[in-house]
Amino acid sequence: MPEKLLPKKFVHLEVYVKEWSITGEEGRYLKRHNSTLEEMTAYYNIVEPLLEDISTYLDQYSLKDLSPECIRLLNLALMCQECFSSVVLFKHPHVPNVLPWQQFKVSSSIIDEVKKIPTQKHK
């Protein structure tokens, strides 16, 4: 039986998991800067209306007890927030008029270890 990617209530979001469910801020930052505005806008418009439902669902559990399906769902929500300023504020895939984005380094690994949230490799 294939592994469930997401909790049953959000099965309709499973098509987005492979590309957008990313563990760690670093990976999400890279995804944002390797996506077009159109791609991010389409993703954001699907997930943003569901953020409250996702939050309510996940709050049934302690962070440290999240199942792999729940971690994937959390990462979908976090990726949606990563897209917010590009889609809503800047209307531009990157922060306009700044140094090359590769010069700005985002570190996830130390933070995730300190916070001890179960991690999941991006598929």
């Binding site: 801020e25 953020l51 996702i54 939050s55 309510t56 996940l58 709050d59 559990y61 302690s62 962070l63 440290k64 999240l66 729940c70 959390l74 929500a77 976090l78 927030q81 990563e82 917010f84 300023s85 809503v88 504020l89 800047f90 922060v95 306009p96 008029n97 700044v98 140094l99 984005w101 010069q103 700005f104 380094k105 985002v106 570190s107 130390i110 933070i111 300190v114 916070k115």
Partner: protein, 414 residues
């Protein structure tokens, strides 16, 4: 210039640490009269912003003589933890450890035998846990309290035993979870004395409510002073942050987003940034209410109504940005006169709820984007300074914090 309120507590001229200047109720006054600060208001020469000599003076007389923040307690969380910090301006590779006794210490990452690097990044991780460390050159072994446990073939040495030698210790102290070192042979003051009244005021913050949530860094071709200048004034907000934080600016009444107060505690400072809250960005800067439970200590020191956050600076290069629901720190590391390594750590309230992570992620990413905007002018500015196109800078009243840094840089490098 219109007159606001200010106060200057004058102490002995030679006592650089305890001079207090307090400007409240902007607009702030100028240099005349009994409340005049120790600095003047003339244009400031730009030579220290690009010269090799100025870099060397600051390196030798400030960075290597004063208390400098290099690490955090959460980076060495348990007995046996260590982390290596290689800091060019200190001329040192430093091992920060938490001993089995729980005490945080730091040492030069150098074997006292013949100077080999003890923790070699090619052989060991630069952060981890260990009970001992062995020099790869000749096997000398030390514990994390710095004690020598073994000198290989000890009997062949002349009047030397392992009890006579130890790792080279660096003066180390902690303040509110931050680890400071002082490379002077004998520091001229303790860390507590160095932080002085700044430490007493800001120290009341409820630090234990927070945990680290993000780390960002960059290497930028800019003098560290040019870099920090972008972070200690709000004059730029309406322009640089036009897309990210324009909702915060009251364009009719306060289009230049003036600081609400400036407090200078010797070389350190606390500056108040206004804040109203922008629905588009979901940034909420709640008013500090003086009704007991809602009072947050260590921030909004003047208890003003439209307070957003405090910019607190520990001279020369360590910044806190303090809000009531988060704080973040900046370290600006000079790598020569024209290059800086910058790192930022964001701290958010401890939580066990996914909904908090989701809510805060938007603000966190927006903050990161806004800081990226702050970096945007650095390299172009440095090119102009290096080429000598601009010989002096006129700082406005709203840029007094920049002038303050320049003043103390001069005083400490005399």
């Amino acid at each position: 210039m219109a007159i606001g309120k200010s106060m200057h507590i004058k102490v002995d001229e030679g006592d650089l640490i305890n001079q207090h200047v307090h400007y409240s109720e902007a607009p702030f006054p100028d240099s005349d009269g009994k409340d005049a600060p120790p600095w003047d208001f003339k244009p400031v020469p730009t030579e220290p912003l690009h010269s090799q000599q100025a870099y060397e003076d600051e390196r030798d007389k400030i960075f290597k003589k004063r208390w400098i923040n290099i690490a955090r307690e959460w980076e060495v969380p348990e007995p046996g933890s260590y982390i290596i910090k290689n800091i060019e301006v200190l001329g040192a590779s430093i091992v920060v450890t938490r001993g089995t006794d729980g005490v945080i210490r730091s040492f030069h990452n150098v074997c006292p035998h013949r100077g080999n690097q003890l923790f070699d990044p090619n052989k060991q991780p630069c952060q981890g846990r260990a009970r001992t460390v062995m020099c790869a050159f000749h096997g000398w072994t030390f514990d994390l309290e710095g004690k020598c446990l073994k000198i290989s073939d000890e009997g062949k040495f002349y009047d030397l035993s392992k009890d006579d030698i130890s790792l080279m210790k660096i003066h180390t102290d902690t303040w509110k979870g931050q680890i400071f070192v002082n490379l002077a042979e004998q520091p001229s003051e303790t860390l507590e004395q160095w932080l002085g009244d700044f430490g007493k005021e800001v120290g009341h913050y409820d630090w234990d409510r927070f945990e680290v949530a993000a780390k960002w860094e960059s290497e930028v071709n800019v003098n560290y002073k040019v870099f920090i200048d972008a972070f200690q004034e709000t004059y730029h907000v309406s322009f640089i942050h036009l897309s990210s934080f324009t909702g915060e600016v009251e364009h009719d009444t306060d289009p230049y987003f003036n600081l609400k107060y400036m407090r200078f505690f010797g070389p350190h400072k606390a500056l108040a940034v206004p804040g109203r809250g922008s629905p588009e960005t979901n940034v909420r800067q709640k008013v500090i209410k003086q009704d007991g439970e809602n009072v947050r200590h260590g921030i909004n020191l003047d208890r003003i109504e439209d307070w957003g956050f405090d910019i607190d600076v520990v001279f020369p290069n360590f910044f806190y940005n303090m809000l009531n629901n988060q704080y973040f720190t900046h370290n600006f590391w000079p790598i020569g006169p024209n290059k800086t390594h910058w790192e930022c750590h964001l701290y958010l309230p401890k939580t066990d709820k996914a909904s908090d992570l989701i809510t805060w992620e938007r603000e966190k990413c927006l903050l990161r984007d806004a800081i990226n905007e702050d970096l945007s002018t650095n390299e172009a500015t440095q090119v102009s300074l290096n080429n000598g196109h601009i010989k002096q800078i006129h700082y406005s009243e709203q840029e007094t914090a920049l002038r303050h840094h320049y003043y103390y840089m001069e005083q400490f490098t005399k």
